[in-house]
């Protein structure tokens, strides 16, 4: 199996013109043969490594590549 990191990054970059934040379901769908709670471990590992970061509205959490999207620059958080 290809490196999960590559699979996720390739997917996010292929969509980067449309959006910068993704639901967990969007990313878990990249690992169809895996149980959701196992996919969670992989995706969270990528967050720990700094490949992905969380974005939370308070009620819903999404995932993106650090620094992408407008918000980081607007709030001076980059």
């Amino acid at each position: 199996m290809a490196d999960p990191k590559d699979i996720v990054i390739e997917f996010i970059q292929s969509k980067s013109k449309q959006k910068s934040k993704f639901y967990f379901n969007d990313l878990a769908a990249l690992f169809p043969e895996m149980k959701m709670r196992d996919a969670k471990k992989i995706i969270n590992q990528l967050v720990s490594e700094g490949v992905l970061e969380y974005w939370s509205s308070g009620s819903t959490t999404m995932y993106g590549i650090p620094g992408t999207g407008k918000q980081a620059a607007t709030e001076g958080e980059d």
């Binding site: 709670r37 969270n44 308070g58």
Partner: protein
């Protein structure tokens, strides 16, 4: 002199009730005085600017907050809710005004030492404003800046031995009633189970991977002091399988007026003599109680655990001895489809360490919801969309009469192929021998 004139907010103080405006003004003044010489790590005028931006919102009729963000502490996807204002030049004190959720102790037992520590920490690293408690039941600390988050988290975990709560698409901070610690009606140790499940599911609490929020709440008995049946996706309500224990002497004492009903809770007014027929027997929703030869009788088979008789006569009627809990699923507040109460999933399960039976149910539901749930779809909405039968199958249970809300509501029975002899395949030639076209 206030930093911003707030005539609209001032009007809110004019009513007879305590006012959050008065509280924020008092905190603003206290911060400026700084009698305790706190080394403030965020702007001293955070409370003044909070009043200012709120006044502007009232004037403009629109919010000036931008909700959501990438803020958090390392490794956690929940516990901090980013909030920024869209007029940072006008209100620099609240340019960042992030909310921090902190786990409350089970049953909300605090020591004054803990509260002092928490308030001191939040005075220094936040606005000093708190919300005890948020709708989910956790400690909500209002207003800090991004650089303070890690510092706050370090002190919270290392010095106070506490942790952040849940937010986002996480398991939210579990909540329980007082349980065994003070209540004779507790059918299981609600605080212990709440604590054990919190520890077991740390990953789900801090690292979001659900379609949306998910709440656990633990009620020791069907009185439901944390209202788990209405407020949690998965509700654990204590119950018993055997009979209500009756002390006939105490029943007679209630009837004779020697013991006050409801533990004397309504003694402030003269309601007349206690009338067991009117106040207990006739109020039983399933009409399963009656008096016979001066003795109270209960047909326990019909009891639906409304708790009314036990509440009115606590010395005469007590919960049964064969205790456990019921699990209900799918309650939610009204964002989509209106509010929903929980539906019964497990009528009875014993509460015994290491709680494997309960964990199996929890994990079965999660796997189904994570697989089938749409983004931002609560468990209750998925159950409504696919049917309770799917939820029952997901946890490996077979349907029982308690799963039926009302008889003859839905006349269709959907057979599964494996339940039908010969499956869906049939010999059409053999069929045509007996049935013409």
């Amino acid at each position: 002199m206030a930093k911003h004139a707030t005539p609209l907010l001032d009007q809110l103080q004019s009513g007879p009730w305590p006012s959050f405006v008065a509280d924020i003004k008092a905190e603003a003044e206290r911060r400026h005085k700084n009698d305790n010489n706190v080394e403030y790590q965020i702007p001293v005028d955070v409370c003044d600017d909070l009043l200012g931006i709120l006044e502007l919102s009232y004037k403009d009729g629109t919010t000036h907050w931008k909700h959501g963000g990438i803020v958090g502490v390392f490794g956690y996807g929940g516990g901090v809710i980013g909030r920024y204002c869209d007029q940072p030049q006008m209100f620099p004190g609240v340019a960042h005004f992030h909310t921090v959720r902190v786990a409350q102790p089970a049953g909300m037992y605090y020591t004054s030492d803990f509260l002092n520590q928490l308030c001191d920490l939040w005075d220094m690293r936040g606005s000093g404003l708190t919300n005890m408690h948020g709708a989910t039941g956790d400690i909500v600390l209002l207003g800090t800046t991004t650089p303070q988050l890690e510092e706050f988290y370090f002190d919270l975990t290392h010095k106070m031995n506490n942790d952040l709560g849940g937010s986002g698409s996480n398991l939210r901070t579990p909540a329980s009633c007082l349980g065994d610690s003070r209540c004779e009606w507790a059918c299981y140790d609600a605080q212990e189970l709440c604590y054990q499940m919190t520890q077991e599911y740390q990953d789900e609490l801090h690292r979001p991977a659900f379609p949306y929020k998910f709440k656990f709440k633990f009620d020791g008995c069907p009185n439901g002091c944390v209202a788990s049946i209405a407020r949690s996706d998965m509700s654990f309500i204590g119950t018993w399988r055997d009979d209500i224990r009756i002390d006939q002497e105490a029943v007679a004492a209630y009837v004779g007026g020697e013991i006050q009903p409801n533990g004397g809770a309504h003694a402030g007014k003269d309601w007349g003599a206690f009338d067991i027929e009117k106040e207990v027997i006739n109020l039983c929703p399933t009409e399963c109680m009656w008096m016979e030869d001066g003795k109270l009788k209960i047909n326990d088979r019909e009891c639906t655990r409304c708790m009314h008789c036990l509440n009115v006569m606590p010395r005469a009627l007590r919960i049964g001895n064969d205790r456990g809990l019921s699990i209900l699923v799918g309650a939610k507040a009204p964002i989509l489809d209106g509010a929903q109460m929980g539906s019964l999933l497990v009528p009875f399960i014993k509460v015994e360490e290491p709680y494997d039976g309960i964990k199996e149910i929890i994990e079965g539901i999660w796997e189904w919801w994570m697989e089938e749930g749409k983004n931002r779809e609560r468990l209750g909405e998925l159950i409504k969309r696919q049917g309770l039968a799917k939820a029952i199958a997901a946890v490996g249970l077979t349907p029982v009469p308690q799963h039926v809300m009302e008889p003859r509501h839905n006349p269709y029975i959907f057979w599964k192929e494996e339940d039908v002899e010969g499956g869906w395949d049939r010999d059409i030639a053999d069929y045509r021998k007996h049935h013409q076209r």
